[in-house]
């Protein structure tokens, strides 16, 4: 019964995310603002359905359903969508939707194709530390993903401007400074959340093993490297007032490490 509900709900919000992605892309490649506005509304509708489905499942399971790859991916998509909607409301710019919404869709479609919802959770995972650790990691991942999209778009627009050949990105994207802000605040928030995730993960390990196990496995090394790269970017920027371009390049490098860390996470589980 719950599995049917989960699948139906997931199909419903995936359809909404797909519709939003289509409309955002149409807005980006045409100029019809109403497509962009409609896309924003459809994305919010997708988020609402997703949130409702999560609430029902949390009530049923008693914990945040992110124990399987399927659920983790879907939750990551949810967080990215949530973060993007906040950015969109703040910046009043719809152009980034054409790049963020497809990523949300990819996460949801893969999750739907590998549908395997979380069931009973082993006792060791039933800890508040673990929940904060995992959801903190997810939020950090979403922040880094948004920051990276901002960074890539920054570099594309920078290139168009520097080559004096304003093209589609010039006419559609928001300003360089705005993209830089998305990258900076996305990275900053990601670093804070990742630090929280590391701290709570450490506590959780101590809780279940009576002593913290700090083996330097590939996943932990990648996580520490990620934190180091993003921190370096932020500190370098703060101290030397490095250009947005430098931070963008560091941001992209950091995100490659984030993906590696998540890949090792998947392998280790």
């Amino acid at each position: 019964m719950m599995t049917t509900f989960t699948f139906t709900a997931q199909a419903a919000f995936t359809a909404l995310y797909l519709a939003a992605a289509y409309l955002y892309l149409k807005y980006f490649f045409s100029v019809e603002r109403r497509c962009g506005l409609l896309a924003a509304r459809v994305l919010v509708a997708g988020l609402v359905v997703h949130l409702a489905a999560l609430a029902v499942r949390i009530a049923h399971l008693g914990y945040l359903p992110i124990a399987t790859v399927c659920d983790a991916l879907s939750f990551a998509g949810f967080i990215i969508a949530l973060a993007y909607v906040c950015i969109e409301k703040f910046s009043r710019d719809l152009s980034m939707g054409a790049f963020v919404a497809p990523i949300i869709c990819i996460a949801q479609v893969i999750s739907l194709l590998w549908f395997h919802p979380s069931g009973d959770l082993p006792v060791r995972y039933r800890s508040p530390w673990f929940e904060i650790h995992v959801s903190g990691s997810m939020f950090a991942f979403a922040s880094f993903a948004i920051a990276t999209i901002g960074a890539v778009l920054y570099l594309v627009l920078y290139r168009e401007l520097h080559r004096k050949r304003p093209g589609r990105f010039y006419s559609r994207l928001t300003s360089l400074e705005q993209l830089d802000r998305v990258n900076f605040y996305g990275s900053l928030l990601g670093v804070i959340l990742l630090a929280v995730a590391i701290f709570t993960g450490f506590n959780w390990m101590r809780e279940i093993r009576a002593s913290a196990d700090l083996r330097l496995d590939a996943r932990i090394i990648a996580t520490w490297f990620t934190l180091a790269v993003y921190l370096t970017g932020l500190v370098v920027r703060r101290i030397t007032r490095a250009s947005g371009r430098t931070l963008s390049l560091l941001s992209i490098a950091g995100f490659i490490l984030v993906v590696m860390a998540f890949a090792f996470e998947g392998i280790s589980h």
Binding site: S30, T174, L176, R245
Partner: protein, 426 residues
């Protein structure tokens, strides 16, 4: 019968010497345009007068000829020494309506898609209302034109991208910095073009504006006008280090900003800087543009952007025309619905549809009962419609017929078939 006509002088055919004479200022609206109402069956007039055009959109009821009064009006404005007639453009029916839609969409503007015209159309709508020149048809036409103008700018790229060098510079700055609230600009050389760019930047809210010129007194003079800060030219590189946007427009024979000292002065800032060199010969050494975080645009680059934008706007014309055709079609349908005959046909159709729908509920009844119901409802419907239809046909004036038709259309939500565009052509 409702007739729509257009009379106008536009920049396409009329020299400025005549255009400036036929301008319709407020007093001309009261003294010359308002008296048109009532002549030759004219019931409504929408005047539009800008620097590129003076136009009248006229609605007539009956068969009167509006040519005479309109030509007399323009002859009076133009004066006896000019033959204004030669330049007067004229259109009737839906062609007249199409003219206003194209004007509102910016297709008929000197700068394709420029946004000011839509505001001017609205401004003259208000003026015409104040002088009680508008009526049902012109109000609807204006509503259609304004809606079409908005759609053209929202749904196509007809109004996108700067089409002047000074605006292209501002657009570039906006693309790099977003807003200008916390930005500092520097203007080097206080010539006309540079001052124009500086004015645009100030209009967009630039936080601080430095003015540098070889003759310091001229910087001081312009600084007073633009509320800028005059800076001696000797402090050029120190000022550049503090600036985000630099516009250089001097008449100096060599490079005013050289790569070596520029690199040294801006090395510490590590922020993006936009340099706009609109001088001929150029003021900024091209090697400056190779530095990271520096965006250097000269006059050719800006003109390249302007040309590309113009081409983009021209490429949108067909799309805009298709959109206008949709709007024109809807207007034609509405206009057609105002005639008495289509209204009566639509009214009968509506009643007949309701009658049929009700009878459908009795389709399983015995044949005699169905036949009786058919006869009774038909007679009932004919009797109900007889009086209003007869009264409508007998109304003495065209304006009464127009008002009643519109009221019936609204009250009964009558639907009219798509109109034949040729039907309203002369």
């Amino acid at each position: 019968m409702i007739r729509l006509s257009y009379y106008g002088f536009t920049y396409r055919q009329t020299p400025v010497e005549l255009r400036e004479r036929v301008v319709l200022a407020d007093d001309a609206l009261a003294a010359r345009v308002a008296p048109l109402i009532g002549q030759a069956g004219i019931t409504e007039v929408y005047p539009l007068s800008t620097c590129n055009r003076t136009e009248l959109y006229i609605v007539q009821l009956g068969d009167g000829d509006a040519d005479g009064p309109v030509r007399a009006l323009f002859a009076g404005l133009a004066g006896a020494d000019v033959r204004a007639d030669r330049y007067l453009e004229r259109a009737t029916g839906l062609e007249a309506a199409r003219r206003l839609l194209e004007v509102a969409a910016g297709l008929d503007s000197m700068v394709m898609g420029e946004p000011q015209i839509l505001g001017q159309v609205k401004e003259f709508q208000d003026k015409a209302r104040r002088h009680q020149l508008l009526g049902t048809v012109t109000e609807r036409l204006l509503q259609t034109a304004i809606h079409a103008g908005k759609r053209a700018r929202e749904e196509t790229e007809i109004g996108q991208g700067a089409v002047s060098v000074s605006f292209a510079a501002v657009e570039l700055a906006r693309k790099i910095f977003g807003g200008f609230e916390h930005k500092t600009a520097a203007l080097i050389g206080v010539g006309e073009m540079g001052a124009l760019c500086a004015r645009h930047l100030q209009a967009h809210g630039v936080h601080r504006l430095y003015l540098l010129n070889r003759t310091f007194e001229r910087s001081v003079e312009l600084a007073r006008e633009l509320t800028g800060i005059p800076v001696p030219i000797e402090e050029l590189y120190a000022t550049l280090a503090q600036s985000d946007i630099v516009i250089s427009a001097t008449a100096a024979p060599g490079f005013v900003i050289q790569a070596g000292p520029f690199r040294e002065s801006v090395a510490a800032r590590r922020r993006e800087i936009l340099l706009v060199d609109i001088a001929i010969p150029r003021d900024i050494e091209p090697a400056v543009g190779d530095l990271a975080g520096v965006f250097l645009y000269d006059i050719d680059d800006l003109e390249g952007i302007v040309d590309a934008n113009r081409r983009k706007r021209e490429a949108e014309v067909d799309k805009v025309r298709r959109l206008l055709l949709d709007e024109l079609d809807a207007f034609a349908r509405w206009l057609g619905s105002l005639d008495v005959t289509p209204t009566i046909v639509a009214l009968r159709g509506k009643f007949e549809t309701i009658r049929r729908r009700e009878l459908d509920g009795y389709r399983n009844a015995p044949p005699q009962e169905r036949e009786l119901a058919e006869r009774v409802t038909r007679a009932f419907m004919n009797k109900l419609l007889h009086a209003p239809v007869t009264r409508l046909k007998e109304l003495p004036s065209e304006s009464d017929k127009l008002r009643c038709s519109e009221a019936l259309n609204r009250l009964f939500e009558l639907e009219h078939p798509p109109a034949d565009p040729e039907a309203h052509e002369s």
